[in-house]
Amino acid sequence: MAHAPVLEAIDQTQIRRRPPLDVLYEWVTTVDHKKLGLMYIGYALLFLVIAGFEAVLMRIQLAVPNNHFVSPQVFNRLFTMHGTTMIFFVAMPVMFGFGNYLVPLMIGARDMAFPRLNAFSFWISAFGGLLMYFSYLGGDGLYGMGSAPDVGWFAYAPLTAKVFSPGHSTDYWTLAVLLSGVGSTGTALNIVTTVLSMRCRGMKLSRLPLFVWLMMVASGIVFVAVSPLTAAQIMLILDRYLGAHFFDTQAGGSAVLWMHFFWIFGHPEVYILVLPAFGFVNEIIPVFSRKAVFGYPAMVAASVGIGFISLSVWAHHMFTVGMGAAGNTFFVFSTMVISVPTGIKIFNWLATLWGGKIIFKVPMMFCIAFLFQFLVAGLTGIMLSAAPFNWQLSASYFVVAHFHYVIVGAIITSLFGAFYYWYPKMTGRMMSETLGKWHFWLFIIGFHLTFDFMHVPGLLGMPRRIYTYEAGRGWEGWNLIVGIGALFQTAGTLIFVYNLVRSYYRGEVAGHDPWDAWTLEWATPSPPPSYNFAVEPTVRSGRPLWDLKHPEDLDENYE
């Protein structure tokens, strides 16, 4: 303990003395997994602010009936860019950022298996995002200013055909998503290889921290889910540039085939995002309950199970297409089956909390909120998985509320918890608890105002993606509440960003292990040196730091 702050002092003076160009050069050329992880996270946060801003614009437009705050064309671009950005340039990079930063530290490795590929994957995803936003400036749009994509984030055919979507707006979308897909596949490959072939001595697969397991499963899904998207984008490019007929209904092509290809990616994508979120919760809840996680083997089995089942549920997005009774039945059941491993996880988290000495610090508060919100999100998911119910509510605001409940209520909420939990490791400073509590309450209240009440206009028949609506349908009050909630969330997020910046300079010095945790990343200084561990560690149980702290009661005796 006595020596750790000295190390940080050395690191920081080194950084401060160098001219900014040198620092920039260092970050551009780095192959260090920690720096790349931080760049992933920073880039995701930047796009989070942009896409969040787009969401606020949409909510202002929908807050009152017959509104003309933005034009219909701009509205179409807003929801397309919001969805695409949030999925491809916020959620995926931030998860990969945390994975990049934490996986080698947690398994006691000095870097990723392919450090240069790691840098390449980051940069190509980043340039993908820039290319997509360049569409606001460049290109010869059809509607005058800007030609941002406006075909929706799942870009159904034949709307994307050259005839219906002239100009280059759709090309921007497909090329940017293609680049992001290449980057994701590269990072996923890197993570799986790192976990399998870079573990420190004694780190058997049965001792991996659950976050590492979940990152590995999520990366495995990336191979089989993102690749179909890449293939489909290649087909779309061939259609648009070379005049192929994959999705050209005039020449016998099938629009439904695009739907299949997209959702073969689209649904597993949800699990690619939510599994790392489970990983955060798996690390945070035990530490703040002062108990080992309950049912480790069941957790691993459930994660792998989710990974496999998630590949067989995609067509529940397509019940209204008319797939026939057999198809519908299969996808109804496979979708319902996926709630079984998910339920196992929820029960295991509850059992971890049960009888624990729960410490309500901000990371833990976010995880508790996650438990509630993820449960509700899963329940509306089961409702929507029943085909007749889905026929009624497909493409309504009920669906929008459901998947935002998953993405914001579960993924983003646990992500905030992860920020508060690992920020001390990444920067060496604690984040402010007071600001954190303000952030938590504002954000959670805003979240529930927005997304609880968004279910109602959906049930009342309000379709998604409409530009505006007339008064007297019973939607206006609900939409106003939803809009107000969005402002609360914005306020909470701004406090969070302020907290991030402020704590970097003013935060309390953290030391290497502020939470009294058990995984290996807390055994190095904060921030860790470029080589992570001066000595390659050796572990004998799933909680190596517990063993060091409590030689009288070793974990290895219980394996």
Binding site: V28, R110, R116, Y172, A523, L548
Partner: protein, 289 residues
């Protein structure tokens, strides 16, 4: 990286067994970033102007060459100085100077459990036992053994919905086969559930298996049967149904309990004397203050 891998394979003998002055890390390189930019520009040219694509190609090709020489014939490394300070690891929790309490002061999961197959066997036995009250009921009410079987099978055949009691009392091969399939599958599944559930309620197996579970199951069916099989719902006699469920539960629970239990991983952490059977588990728990 190769060097690192080599030490992974050979064990911690040479430079990693004690802190050394430097550690080899992969050298920083700009080529991956340049290649990514080149590829992005090549695609960007598709939406702007071909000259951009050309520029991208001009960046990508040297980047590939540069990257190649970063890796081959030898990976480039930088040697980073190590500040090998000793980090003390301690807990906020105070270490207990252990009172000689129980050896197993942590809560443990069940030491023994039933194997999955025992549940399946129990389910099959219970399913056989259930046939007796069902057949009795058919005989007494409708003077035919087949009534109950056909009634169960009717859920699967829409055309049977309007048939009379007399029709259901006759023998139908189709009905018998369907009833056997439905009954067999349900019995096995419920048996599996018993195998998993009984270790959780170890105190009164007869009460749990024989009565609580059948009543729960009957309750669930009572509320859901109208959706699953309307025809069965109209004609079912719930008191007989409960009797047959209890028969199933008692027999299935009995058969599951007969089987030898399987030791879970927790068993290995017990002291040797207990594992060897010299000390019984219960004694020790009683002695603990």
């Amino acid at each position: 990286m190769n060097e690192m891998n080599a030490t992974h394979d050979q064990g911690p003998l040479d430079d990693h067994s004690r802190p050394t002055d430097t550690i080899p890390l992969p050298a920083p390189t700009a080529w991956p970033m340049v290649l990514a930019l080149g590829i992005a520009l090549m695609l960007g040219g598709m939406v702007t102007h071909w000259a951009i694509s050309l520029l991208g190609l001009l960046m990508a090709v040297p980047a590939i060459v540069g990257w190649f020489f970063d890796v081959l014939p030898h990976e480039r490394h930088v040697y980073v100085d190590v500040h090998a300070d000793v980090i003390e690891i301690k807990s906020t929790r105070e270490t207990l100077a252990h009172l000689p309490l129980d050896e197993r002061h942590r809560k443990l999961l069940p030491l023994e459990t039933f194997s999955v197959m025992s549940g399946v066997k129990g389910g099959i036995a219970g399913g056989l036992a259930m046939i007796v009250p069902a057949a009795l009921y058919s005989l007494i009410r409708y003077h035919s053994v087949w009534y109950a079987a056909n009634l169960l099978a009717a859920g699967g055949f829409v055309s049977w919905a309007g048939e009379s009691n007399a029709f259901l009392a006759q023998f139908h091969l189709r009905g018998l086969l369907a009833a056997m399939a439905i009954h067999g599958l349900t019995s096995v599944l419920i048996g599996l559930l018993y195998g998993a559930m009984l270790p959780m309620f170890p105190r009164w197996p007869i009460l749990t298996a024989g009565f609580v579970a059948p009543f729960l199951w009957t309750g669930i069916l009572h509320s859901a049967l109208g959706i699953i099989s309307p025809i069965l719902d109209q004609r079912i006699d719930w008191s007989w149904f409960v009797v047959s469920q209890i028969a199933f539960g008692l027999v299935a629970g009995f058969v599951v309990n007969l089987h030898v239990k399987v030791r879970t991983p927790q068993f290995r952490s017990l002291p040797f004397s207990v594992r060897a059977g010299i000390h019984a588990l219960g004694d020790e728990e009683d002695k603990a203050p």
